[in-house]
Amino acid sequence: MSVDPMAYEAQFFGFTPQTCLLRVYIAFQDYLFEMMLVVEGVILKKLDGIPGCNISPSQIRKCTEKFLLFMKEHFDKLFGKMEEMLLQLVLNIPKNVLLPEDRVQEQYPCSREQFQALQEELRQLQQQCRAEGAAGQALRAELEEQKVVRAELEKILEWFDGLESVCREHGTGNFKESFAFLTQNSKKLQEVLKDVEEKSKKM
């Protein structure tokens, strides 16, 4: 007969019902034996007090053994019945009952495959979150970089603007024409200069 360890009961009671009842059995049995010895002691003492009594201690011992044997037989039978009742009806977790700490088992039944699939999904989600996080950092870094580049480019444009407004300030609307005009002028100036130099040499 396979022993039912009654582990689920032990989980609830904190002890195995069989051990509990074994302890009760041993305690009861000890009491019975002790009481029988007390009874025998009292009788022997009373007999001592009766003069001319011819009942020997061994006779009384035989009486004790006879009564104890009888009691022990009944004790074991009755205790067996009590144990059966207590194990079945009292120190027992009915099959349809789930202990509170195990409720999660029925709220979240989960096969190995489901569990692994969930773990895989979590791994992927973590990876995606990290990837998105890195992408976010890269995007923000580029934004910062763009700010700097844009500032530089706008500075260059301002520089061009400044250039043109200088030209405008000095009456040169269209740069190209004024530049051509300037080159002509400078050429004329060079000719005049040459001219002056020749004359001054002659002089």
Binding site: P5, A7, A10, Q11, T16, T19, L99, E101, V104
Partner: protein, 32 residues
């Protein structure tokens, strides 16, 4: 045998909570 049963049953009762504490800590650390 009896002690083994009681010990096993006690672990079944208590350890899921203990393990959960650490598992939740790990998840929170992961989230942070």
């Amino acid at each position: 045998f009896d002690e083994l049963i009681v010990e096993t049953a006690a672990r079944r009762k208590q350890w899921p909570k203990k393990i959960l504490v650490h598992a939740i800590q790990a998840m929170k650390a992961e989230q942070n």
